[in-house]
């Protein structure tokens, strides 16, 4: 395999990502600086009446929000280049540590939802494709189409009402039981809190991957190489294992990685509905309260995350598909 080409390809992508990141930071910064929410007011919160004007000035001087936006951005950027993401105004803690904690929580949630949607979607797609045009296929297709057009937050609310409020099987929200010290939280509690949000989040992906896999499998099954396999006595199961999986796995994996952006978008909504303390929710809080350092930190982090997904999607193809792997042609 041409390792050099692959490395060049990845380097090229990285350069693009850094340009994109810089643009993204500028844009987000410009948007928050034009936001009607006054960061100082948001910072002080309900105590606004008790704080005098000099104090307000001191606070804004402390956070640097009294300076012109360009200067603020310059300060933030130069600190960033030294590896300092700054301090969050609403949590009053270093942005890096908040993101680390929140991202870990989100990662578990998204990882679970991602794996679940990938496996369930792939399996449903295969069943529908193998049983093309039967009632099974039609049922799976309608199920997916309904799922695909269901808004995540609405679905989350429905699940919450049924399973948490009525049936009382799952907690109403959060990642751990309220009022329990971190070191006393059991793994089972965490899992218990994860199930509903993960389920909500996986649903969108299931529909995507199932419909896509079904379509690919139908194409493969009507291909000439499957015709030959059939003519040479292969059974439908043998055909699925020998030719089906081989030809649909790669597109499915690629799609699954490329869908990380949607997954991330979905996680913002799911985390909000379930008050799950992940990165998505932190982003929303930072935006609503004009917490510039935290918001920019979240923006950078989510962009890198989504970008990595797309990069993996593109790279997997290059590493796995023999047609791209040995581009040099005949030996």
């Amino acid at each position: 395999m041409q390792l050099k080409q692959l490395i060049l390809f990845i380097l090229g992508k990285m350069v693009k990502m850094f340009i994109l990141l810089a643009a993204l930071c500028l844009l987000s910064f410009w948007m928050v600086s034009n936001s009607p929410v006054d960061p100082v007011q948001a910072y002080v919160g309900a105590d606004m009446m008790l704080v005098g004007p000099e104090q307000l000035e001191r606070i804004s001087a402390y956070w640097g929000v009294d300076k012109p936006p360009i200067e603020q951005f310059g300060r933030w950027a130069s600190a960033l280049l030294q590896g300092d993401l700054g301090t969050s105004m609403i949590f009053r803690r270093p942005v890096a540590s908040i993101i680390k904690e929140r991202f870990f929580a989100s990662l578990i949630l998204m990882g679970l939802a991602w794996t679940l949607s990938g496996l369930v979607g792939f399996a449903l797609g295969i069943v529908a494709g193998m049983k093309q045009n039967t009632w099974v296929d039609k049922a799976i297709k309608s199920y997916c189409l309904i799922l695909a057009s269901t808004p995540t937050f609405w679905l989350g609310l429905i699940l919450l009402i049924i399973f948490a409020v009525w049936l009382n099987w799952f907690p109403l929200g959060l990642a751990v039981p309220a009022g329990v010290l971190t070191e006393n939280v059991r793994l089972i509690d965490r899992i218990h809190h994860l199930i509903l949000p993960a389920l909500t989040l996986s649903v969108l992906g299931v529909a995507n991957i199932a419909l896509h896999t079904r379509q690919k499998l139908v194409e493969v099954l009507s291909s000439e190489y499957v015709l030959l396999a059939r003519a040479r006595g292969a059974s439908e199961t043998e055909i699925l294992w020998r030719h089906g999986i081989r030809n649909i796995a790669l597109p499915a994996i690629t799609l699954q990685f490329a869908s990380l952006s949607e997954l991330f978008g979905g996680s913002v909504l799911a985390e909000t509905v379930f008050s799950y303390p992940g990165l998505g929710r932190a982003t929303v809080q930072a935006g609503l309260r004009s917490d510039v350092p935290l918001l920019l930190g979240c923006v950078i982090f989510s962009a890198v995350f989504v970008f990595s997904g797309n990069l993996i999607a593109d790279t997997v193809y290059r590493v796995v598909d023999p047609r791209i792997r040995h581009k040099d042609g005949a030996v």
């Binding site: 015709l227 030959l228 396999a229 040479r232 292969a234 023999p322 042609g329 005949a330």
Partner: protein
């Protein structure tokens, strides 16, 4: 050509495709019309005909691998017993071997050695290696993917895939185009050997010239039917021994003969003439030719579908 000893006999086979045109109107495209053919053990039946005459579809119909919108009528018998869909499933790959027409019949993501081994009992590697060697495919070829092969190599892989089985009927759909003359010779000789061992071979081709030395009978296809089936010796001279006006014209059109192309076009499946399928182009056509289709009849040791053939 007694019916009881045929490996395969096809009787009045008609294949049509249901298709939907604009406005969801359903139409039937008849691509094979009342076709009959048979093959005996130890014989090679060459099937010739221009593009679109239904050669591949006949092969697919015998194997039962037509698309699901195809409607098939008529009967087929294998070993004198009706060839039902269940029997097709049982026989293909075991009793009936198939060499497909194009290199698209290879899975692009699977190494070709593995693809050939898939049709060998117990997946034996030696069998595949022997057959590759026979078709001058290097031992490393088995580890290549189809896109790494030249067109000729890919075709040899397809041929190898059918030659590994000990089937009693081999259907080869244009196995030779694009191959080196030496390999064509090898493939045809191999088919002849297989026939001499007692198998029946159906060899589909565009090229009458190439099969004159190996075939026993030649069936001439036109617009989805067999217009004539004749012993190979009748394809000689100026085609005097041939029975059907189309076979004669086709024979005369060969470069080594008069090289005069048959004028006009083969009718398209959606637009077949009411009478004899050849009537719009036939110099001998009379009134009845335009009104009804001639049935197949025996004539001078062959079969013909023409009112006026003598």
């Amino acid at each position: 050509m007694a019916l009881n000893q045929s490996v395969l006999s096809v009787n009045e086979l008609t294949v049509s495709f249901r298709q939907y045109t604009r406005g969801l109107r359903q139409i039937e495209l008849t691509v094979i019309t009342g076709l009959s053919a048979e093959i005996q053990p130890g014989k090679i039946l060459a099937v010739i005909g221009s593009s679109g005459s239904g050669k591949s579809l006949l092969a697919h119909a015998i194997l039962g691998i037509l698309p699901s919108n195809a409607r098939v009528t008529g009967t087929m018998a294998y070993d004198g017993e009706e060839l039902t869909a269940e029997r097709q499933v049982k026989l293909r790959g075991r009793e009936i071997a198939f060499i497909p027409q194009s290199v698209n019949y290879l899975d692009p993501l699977m190494k070709v050695g593995a693809q050939v081994r898939a049709s060998i009992k117990d997946n034996k590697k030696e069998v595949q290696r022997d057959i590759f060697a026979r078709y001058h495919l290097d031992s490393q070829v088995e580890n290549l993917y189809p896109f790494q092969l030249s067109g000729g190599m890919a075709r040899r892989v397809l041929v190898s895939g059918a030659m590994v089985s000990d089937a009693r009927l081999i259907i080869a759909d244009e196995p030779t185009p694009g191959l080196h003359p030496e390999i064509v010779e090898e493939a045809l000789t191999h088919l002849r050997q297989l026939a001499d061992e007692g198998r029946a071979v159906m060899l589909i081709t565009h090229d009458v010239g190439a099969v004159l030395n190996v075939a026993d009978y030649i069936a001439v296809f036109y617009a989805g039917t067999t217009v004539e089936t004749a012993p190979v010796k009748d394809f000689a001279g100026k085609g005097e021994a041939l029975r059907h006006p189309y076979s004669k014209a086709l024979w005369k059109a060969l470069p080594q003969n008069d090289f005069i192309p048959v004028s006009g076009f083969q009718p398209s499946p959606g637009d077949l003439p009411l009478g004899c399928l050849f009537s719009p182009r036939c110099p001998m056509a009379s009134r009845e030719c335009f009104e009804s289709r001639p049935l197949e009849r025996e004539l001078r040791g062959g079969k013909v579908r023409c009112y006026h053939a003598t």
